[in-house]
């Protein structure tokens, strides 16, 4: 179909905007008879490799040299695989292994690519071809035959006539995937309810506050003014099963401030101990750990979406997309001077969910 020359004179008339057909009544396209006419193809300009035999030879040499270079690159990559082994506990050896195998492969690939493209551009025929386009829609006889086939099938099957059969089939086809949907209930454990799980953590009365991740209990006296601790409940670090799930809810930040700086609600005055406060570390926006504490301002910052919480003021949100303050863990001190929880959190921790109220 392709013509290898550029002499397609007949195309010019067909393309002048005035000749564009089938402008439907709804179209707002402007069709003018006064438009300029497509001048047809400009004269072909030969390449230097077409005119100068020496240039052609040069291009040929470049192409096959590149293909040979590619072979060198591949061989180099194989050699590098052996020459730069990975030595245990030496990250530098990994770097060299990565670098030299990679450079060899890059050379092998790029040389093939550049060689092939250069061949195509400089040496292969550069006469453009022309393909004719046809409307995408089928020709009228083909479309008529397609309609006829559907009508015949309809007639022979009675699909349109026997409506009871047809409608019951549609009904069956709609219902049959439903069991598959039900099967997906098994993705989550059958004996658990997510709402119940979200409403509680492993904190309860008397559980000691321990360091994350070591699990060492924390004495109130060890929490110096201005310091902050990443805290997990006692026993979490030894858990085998479900450790991360519990940690994702129970992680706490412990901060000691000058009691004068704390603005405490009447009902929550007993939740802190001598300026030591404990707040859930799980952001109330979408659940990232609110791990960045700014000592001077007493602000907590979530590194994911930059919500900021004011520790002085019950961790109210002062900036960012979070809507609710971080839940506070009521704490006290046991007989040995270790910090303990007074109870679980009094509200669900972490991101909001539909059933939360």
């Amino acid at each position: 179909m392709a013509k290898d020359d550029n002499g397609a004179e007949h195309v010019t008339a067909a393309d002048s905007p005035g000749a564009q057909l089938a402008t439907s009544a709804a179209s707002t396209a402007v069709v003018t008879r006064d438009a300029l006419v497509n001048p047809g193809f400009p004269p072909h300009r030969p390449r230097i490799t077409d005119l100068d035999h020496k240039e052609e030879r040069k291009a040929e040499r470049a192409v096959f040299s590149l293909f040979y270079v590619s072979i060198v690159g591949s061989v180099f990559a194989i050699a590098a695989y052996m020459a730069f082994p990975i030595v245990a506990e030496d990250p530098g050896s990994v770097r060299l292994n990565n670098l030299f195998i990679g450079l060899g492969l890059s050379l092998a690939l790029l040389a093939i690519g550049i060689g092939a493209v250069h061949w195509g551009k400089a040496l292969m025929s550069d006469h453009e071809g022309v393909d004719e386009r046809h409307p995408v829609r089928g020709t009228e006889p083909v479309r008529a035959r397609a309609v006829e086939i559907f009508q015949q099938a309809n007639e022979e099957s009675g699909f349109g006539r026997r409506t009871l059969i047809r409608n019951s089939l549609i009904g069956a086809l709609v219902v049959f995937p439903l069991p598959a949907v039900v099967l997906f209930r098994g993705l989550g454990p059958m004996d658990q309810n997510p709402v119940a799980l979200l409403n509680g953590t492993m904190w309860k009365k008397g559980i000691r506050l321990t360091m994350d991740p070591s699990g060492t209990p924390i004495k109130a006296a060890d929490v110096t003014l201005g310091s902050s601790f990443h805290v997990i409940p006692e026993g979490l670090s030894e858990m085998g099963h479900g450790r991360l799930e519990e940690k994702a809810k129970a992680a706490v930040l412990l901060i000691r401030m000058d009691p004068k700086d704390l603005i405490e609600e009447e009902g929550r005055k007993s939740w802190s101990y001598d300026g030591i406060v404990a707040y859930s570390k799980i952001c109330t926006h979408v659940g990232c750990p609110v791990a960045l504490y700014e000592q001077h301002t007493h602000h907590l910052l979530c590194p994911c979406h930059q919500s900021q919480f004011d520790v002085e003021n019950h961790c109210k949100v002062i900036f960012g997309p979070a809507a609710r303050p971080l839940p506070q863990l009521p704490i006290a001190v046991d007989a040995e001077g270790y910090l303990i929880a007074q109870s679980d959190f009094t509200e669900p921790v972490g991101p909001s969910f539909w059933e939360r109220a």
Binding site: A2, A8, V11, D15, Q20, A22, S24, S27, T28, A29, V30, T32, A35, L36, V37, P39, G40, F41, E89, D90, N97, N98, I101, S106, L109, G113, V117, H118, G120, K121, D126, G129, D131, R133, R185, G188, P189, P194, L197, D212, K247, A248, A251, I282, C283, H285, G287, P289, P303, Q308, V317, F319, P321, A322, A323, G350, S352, F353, W354, R356
Partner: protein, 549 residues
């Protein structure tokens, strides 16, 4: 006797054919007799593809997908999609003895104990980043040149779905190593899902196989990542390319290019060499990047743990716009009504981002409805010749860019010593006002460029030569544009705003009123292409300009 002599040359000829063809001919014959492949060669072998650098963007996307398949297959031989806890005992000393999932541990082994493993991981990740970027740029090219117009609207939709699937592939793959960064990404997804009314809590519970993070998510994402999503992508790419063959490629306006032809080089041999070579160039560039630049150093992040996190966390670039949108929501967008929590800080993001991408998908149908244009379009628009479309595109790009920039709000604040609040407030403003500003600027620039084109067609280029006429007047000689160059400047479709007319019942429906309003918005300001009579008149008025040379 005579009959024998006449037959002899014919037989000779047949034998000669066989000899000259040799193995290749007989192999081709063997295959054709069993597959009838000669028909395909006849149809496709000399098929014409037009040349333009912007047509390579789709090719880059296709080739990076092939690179992803190759490198990804290698990785599957070593990766263990399991969240079972193991104690790391590989070559990377700082993490030795630390409990982590088998997924993380095997990813560490790929990086530190398998020769070339890190290279393949980095090729896979870099190629994935390139894949989404190339699809995005390809879509921009299609949009701004109007290549989505009839008959290619459906192929635009297929391409759009591929873009979404590419992001899904990216995100599922990003989550597989189960490192601290990817775990936090999943944590955000969990929080997002929980914010969906009615279904959210249960969907999250089922997705993670219980409470977050659970022991199932990596295995489940792995099935999606290496089986389901790639299968759908391969099928859609096949359809996408089939449509390219059926429609034949579009071409830019140029002398000799018409709506009824396609001008370019044949598949065999030129396109085979150039496109085939280009695959190796793309592969080579990705390989070079992977050998020189680290990507996703999970050994610096460590295994996932819900408690620690580092400052300056960033998602992969293509998720940035969604993450940034979440950061731009002002404080406190949540309320409780009848014992249920409505998380507007999440719902607004999902709705706005969702509407944005659905609008992108539907754009070809919207524009076709406004113009009422039922013609096939195979010659591309230069962006300036569709000013309103280009301006809408500029507005969309600005909107996307603002959201995307917001994903790095903290990095910008620390790098440029700005306040976090200032950066966020600025980006909130650019998200809302930027698109409007971009629309007006882009539209005016397009109209100005169209005016310039008209000037050039009617009066030629300014040559810089000043000539003094006999009367003493100084004029600059204008160099006329040649007819081939001129055609590029005048051959575009022109539309008028829709004139509202009552239908057969003498009524004007509300839909027609909306359409007329949009049509006015699209085409009220328009520069018409130069007509032949105008050109004749211009040349008649200024004989000096054409004889000046």
């Amino acid at each position: 006797m005579t009959t024998i002599t006449t037959r002899e040359p014919a037989e000779d000829h047949a034998v000669g054919m066989k000899k000259s063809g040799g193995f290749t001919a007989s192999a081709a014959n063997y295959i054709d007799e069993r597959t009838s492949i000669s028909g395909a060669v006849k149809e496709l072998g000399r098929k014409i593809f037009p040349d333009h650098w912007s047509f390579l963007l789709g090719e880059v996307a296709l080739y990076s997908f092939v690179i992803i398949l190759l490198s990804g297959s290698f990785l599957t031989f070593f990766f263990q999609a399991s969240m079972a806890e193991v104690v790391y005992d590989g070559s990377y000393a700082p993490l030795k003895g630390i409990p982590m999932s088998a997924a993380m541990s095997s990813t560490m082994d790929i990086s530190f104990d398998i020769r070339g493993g890190l290279l393949m991981r980095q090729v896979h990740h870099w190629a994935a980043l390139l894949f989404v970027a190339a699809i995005g740029l390809h879509m921009l090219r299609i949009y701004f040149t109007g290549a989505f117009r009839k008959p290619r609207e459906l192929n635009w939709v297929i391409g759009f779905i591929l873009f979404i699937l590419a992001m899904a592939e990216g995100f599922t793959g990003y989550s597989l190593p189960d490192d601290l960064l990817s775990g936090n990404g999943l944590r955000i997804i969990d929080g997002l899902i929980k914010g969906i009314p009615v279904l959210g809590t249960w969907v999250s519970f089922l997705l993670f196989g219980g409470e977050f993070p659970g022991n199932d998510i990596v295995g489940r994402l792995y099935s999606l990542h290496i089986l389901l999503l790639p299968a759908i992508i391969v099928a859609l790419i096949a359809m996408h390319l089939l449509f390219v063959v059926v429609h034949k490629h579009t071409q830019y306006p140029a002398a000799g290019h018409t709506n009824q032809n396609v001008v370019g080089y044949p598949v065999l041999p030129v396109y085979a060499a150039k496109a085939g070579g280009f695959f190796f160039i793309v592969f080579g560039v990705v390989m070079l990047i992977a050998s020189l630049f680290t990507i996703n150093p999970i050994w610096n992040y460590g295994p996932y743990d819900p408690s620690p996190v580092s400052a300056g966390t960033q998602p992969d670039w293509y998720i940035g716009f969604a993450d940034g949108a979440m950061r731009l929501i002002p404080t406190g967008w949540e309320f409780v009504l009848l014992n249920h929590t409505y998380s507007l800080n999440i719902l607004v993001v999902l709705t706005v981002v969702g509407l944005f991408i659905v609008t992108v998908m539907m754009y070809p149908f919207i524009e076709a409805w406004i113009t009422g244009d039922k013609r096939e379009h195979h010659v591309l628009d230069r962006p300036r010749n569709a000013p309103t479309r280009t301006a809408i595109g500029a507005a969309g790009v600005t909107f996307y860019a603002s959201l995307w920039a917001a994903a790095s709000s903290d990095i910008m604040a620390t790098h440029f010593h700005l306040t976090m609040e200032g950066v966020i407030h600025t980006l909130q403003a650019t998200t809302l006002l930027g698109p409007i500003l971009a629309f007006f600027i882009a539209k005016r620039v397009c109209l100005a460029l169209q005016k310039k084109d008209r000037e050039i067609v009617l009066h030629g280029y300014e040559s810089g030569r000043i000539v003094r006429l006999p009367g003493g007047e100084f004029v600059e000689v204008h160099q006329p544009v040649d007819e081939y160059e001129r055609w590029k400047l005048v051959s575009y479709s022109d539309f008028k705003p829709l004139m509202l007319r009552p239908n057969a019942q003498g009524k004007i429906g509300p839909a027609e009123k909306v359409r007329a309003g949009l049509s006015r918005w699209f085409f009220e300001d328009r520069i018409t292409p130069v007509a032949q009579s105008e050109l004749n008149r211009a040349h008649g008025d200024h004989p000096a300009e054409i004889t000046g040379k």
